[in-house]
Symmetry: C4
Subunit: 202 residues, 4 copies
């Protein structure tokens, strides 16, 4: 329900920040990497947010990009992965390296994140690869209405573009990655994997 907060940064803690919006201070759980990258308290900040609703708690989680938030939400969909663990994965690995690891089926790198054992790493691997495929099928049915992305290129490229956007990449990031592919004679899945590999290595 709450998509973002834009307000005055008031306090920075190791794993949370407080942002004031209109006289109300919102405590937002963030990865330590994001907390360390924020400006000095007093400056205006913009955080993409996810509102976690439980029977006995309302908690807000914050991200610097839609890309990170989308990865967080996909991780939340994996059985046994709660918001804090999902936040740790996004915070420690960063989304680009996460997708690159998923493509390489590199469970090892996932287990470097506190709270992720071999079993959870495998489950993340299986479910996120599956979602990656599904993401393309769902997306190809409804090409994005936003940002007037030109639907001129071939069907596979457009599907790949839509899939990358629905993973949280901006249209510009997605288009640039696709344009840098040496071989574009691939199906949508192949284009997405190749683009993710390129962005994962940046």
């Amino acid at each position: 329900m709450i998509d973002f907060l834009k307000g005055r940064l008031v306090s920075v803690y190791p794993e949370a920040v407080v942002v004031e919006v209109g006289g109300i201070g919102y405590r937002v759980q963030v990865p330590p990497s994001l907390a360390a990258s924020l400006p000095e308290p007093g400056e205006t900040v913009f955080l993409y947010t996810y509102l976690s609703v439980k029977e006995t708690a309302l908690e807000m989680f914050g991200f610097s990009s839609e890309l990170d938030r989308t990865a967080f939400l996909l991780l939340l969909g994996v059985a046994g992965i709660g918001p804090r663990t999902a936040l740790a994965v996004v915070g420690r690995l960063g989304t680009r390296r996460l997708w690159a690891a998923i493509l390489r089926e590199d469970t090892g790198i996932l287990t470097t994140v506190p709270g992720i054992g071999v079993k959870s790493a495998r489950r993340i691997m299986v479910e996120l690869r599956d979602r990656l495929e599904k993401q393309q099928v769902a997306v190809s049915a409804e090409l994005p209405a936003s940002d007037g992305v030109p639907v001129l290129a071939g069907r596979a490229e457009n599907e790949a573009l839509a899939a990358l956007i629905s993973l949280g990449y901006t249209p510009r990031e997605a288009r640039e990655a696709l344009n840098r592919l040496p071989d574009r004679k691939l199906d949508a899945a192949g284009l997405v994997h190749a683009a993710l590999r390129i962005m994962g290595s940046q």
Copy 2:
């Protein structure tokens, strides 16, 4: 609890929009038809809303008119119909065609909406017709206090006017529809049906 949002349109997705109100971005689920009809991001928009509260989620659904929201709420009252399916019905058919279909007992048109099979279509048909009748009985007991609608015309017309208003039509829409009826020697139910048919064919 939250009846509407008035703020800056920030992002448009295929099935959701983000509206900023006072530094907070609210993500609102909307039918694709509404998403496509909104102005450019940056403009001010007004959405009638419904706040769905569940044990693990707070979700906001948005509408361009009280008419659509009222239909959505009545659909929500039908067993087995959740917010997303109700939104799909309102988005795909539009409220006028929905009421016209209910009057014609046309379950076929309901099944064109993804997520609605024959069984759900029949249940919607039965329950919404029943509600339509009840709507009139309840409404006739308490004529609307809003908009100073002149209670001069006959009792049946006033009941029909109140029923149409409680279905979400504005007083002006309801009065115009009743005034265009060739035969006004009907009881309240008859007047309502005839008016809905006229508005359903527009």
Copy 3:
């Protein structure tokens, strides 16, 4: 959690109003008598509120005075009385006549409210009388810190004053009612009953 709303009155329905505060429209359930007493849409209104939290709904109830809200909250504490019924009692009888009825043990008047049968009326009678007594015991232990009410008069009068304030009367209303009592040689309970009778007959 939400004690009041102060904003622009946008819409008035038979049993609810919509108040805009900072770009958000809040739908507030109110008694018809309050809806009918509000100014024209567009004016600024102030409503004391109660936020009802349930597993599948957040609903706001509105009152024109703390007195009405306090009575509503005490009614909510009676087994089997939900917010809508409590609102109907406060709306139909008004708090002063409610307390006068409780003192006279007049269950008949309670049954004139839709949704209140003889059994519920008796339960309301018993529980509110009991609360009335408890209210005084609790209150007498902690005299109000607000409004600098002079604690010069006798102990019984101060206890009665505190009890009336905790029932939602303003300090001025409570003091005036006590000052109009012909016989003030009563204990706190007697003073409260007598004052309620006077205010109930206004």
Copy 4:
């Protein structure tokens, strides 16, 4: 989720205050000692807050310092201690005397708080001492990123500094207390205990 409220003080009750922020009045449960210490209604106030979420209630609790709120949250973690009892402990004893009592294992002073019997006092004692130790272990792993505290002094002092800050003391309070210790040749736990004793006696 809601870290603080900054707004106009509207009403003061024995155990709650109402603060207006942007047209909405928020009712905040506070200890009587805090209610009595607030300025006149109409002035701007700042309260650190805790939003308690239950299936049938959203309640806000308020504090004048992070120190008090941190103690409140640690008390909430003790089995059988709810928000009102935790608020009563913080309100009656004050956080400094609470920590001093925990260090002295003085359960007697805890039982002076309404709602705290010998059994709860013992449980608070055991669990808060345990948390105190844990607090240091957890904290020493992630030295605070806030307020650029110079990490020049010895490792034990920095761990003690971080532990005191995570208990809610400001960096300045923590550093001053450590600087006043006659004997600083202690491990982190010893430094923390000594500092708490000094601050507890102020």
